[in-house]
Amino acid sequence: MWPHEQRDRHHKGVSSSSSSSRCSPSSSVLPQTPKRRTMEELWKDISLNASPPPPLDYHRLQADSSLHSPSMVLQDFLAGPLNQPLYQPQAAAKELLPPPLQTALSLNSGLEFQFLGEADQANTQSNSSSNNINGNVANGSFTSYDFSVGPPSPAALFSFCSRKRSTTESHPGAADRHQKRMIKNRESAARSRARKQAYTTELESEISHLQEENAKLKKQNELLMRSQVAVPKSSLRRSSTAPF
């Protein structure tokens, strides 16, 4: 079953086969947290599985994409030869895609359900057709893992802004209070910045003082050591002896 599909992937691109699996109704229902676990599992499995059959190929692929994190590599896997990868991992590498691709996709079939859920929030920079959605969704979800900023932030920003606007217009006099609040907040923020600045400059001057002191003490120490070596140690001598 798998090899047959694999051949399809080759020609039509990954997305087509995966889209069929994506269309299942259970896609959007899955919760967030299992996705993360499966993501990690995916990575673990890829690194495990990729090593045996064509270890060289996978490594070569990675070497080509040395500057980019593994996320780019997986994205390429998912995107398939149909999608232009964001960087060119060379045509040779594409040929090597199939064997590692096999492992990635065999694991990925479960993941794609979650990817669809992510796509609703994802602000993917997708300028492409549905065929590419899978690749771009993967991109969005991966970027959210890599940079942990990703999809949720714009949505969160929107809701925050709208909330603010709705409350201020609800009753009169609220604008003044709002204004006062804003001024107070601004002052508070300014104080906070001043505090932070003061502390960092303080630490910096402390550092320079300590460095100077350290250098001075080291020199002193060195001099003392040298002088100690040059002069023979004088031992304590008795000057007078008391009867007791």
Binding site: K184, E187, S188, R191, S192, A194, R195, K196, A198, Y199, T201, E202, L203, E206
Partner: protein
């Protein structure tokens, strides 16, 4: 630091060392101390050249009761006079006993200022209450010269304001 100085007195140049320590922890300008760590007076060691020069130490809170509304600026937490040079605050006269800061609102700056006295027992003009103390007028009335300043930040025990710096 300059901003703190300006809030409390005219800018000056530091001329005497001032080392303040609460238990095991040295006061570094701008560090944060919670009320529980500053309940008891700190150990204050001063520099200076000799035992015959006398110094006054004040500890004020310019942000009382609330930094955004400092109506009690400055609140006097501690006043010690006639500290002999090169010694510590225990050798001075504690005019106003140490009161551990317990800010209710906001993040307060707690400022220590060390003054050089004209001579021994030359500080006569003493405040009657702790709040609304004016460091500037205090120093002019008593012919004091500022020689050192240090400060730290303090907020209420369970406060969550400000950045968490390593302490």
């Amino acid at each position: 630091m300059g901003e703190v100085v300006r809030d409390v007195l005219e800018p000056f140049t530091t001329s005497v060392t001032l080392r303040i320590r609460y238990s095991a922890r040295q006061v570094v300008n701008g560090a944060e101390f919670r009320p529980s760590t500053i309940v008891n007076k700190p150990r204050v060691e001063i520099g200076g050249d000799d035992l015959s020069t006398f110094y006054t130490l004040v500890m004020v809170d310019p942000d009382a009761p609330n930094p955004s509304n400092p109506s009690m600026r400055e609140y006097l937490h501690w006043l010690v006079t006639d500290i002999p040079g090169t010694t510590n605050a225990n050798f001075g006269r504690e005019i106003l006993c140490y009161e551990g800061p317990r800010p209710a609102l906001g993040i307060h700056r707690m400022v220590f200022v060390l003054f050089k006295q004209l001579g021994r027992q030359t500080v006569f003009a003493l405040p009657e209450v702790r709040q609304n103390f004016n460091t500037r007028s205090f120093l002019t009335e008593n012919y004091l010269v500022p020689v050192a300043i240090s400060y730290f930040n303090c907020q209420r025990e369970t406060g969550s304001g400000g950045r968490r710096f390593a302490s």
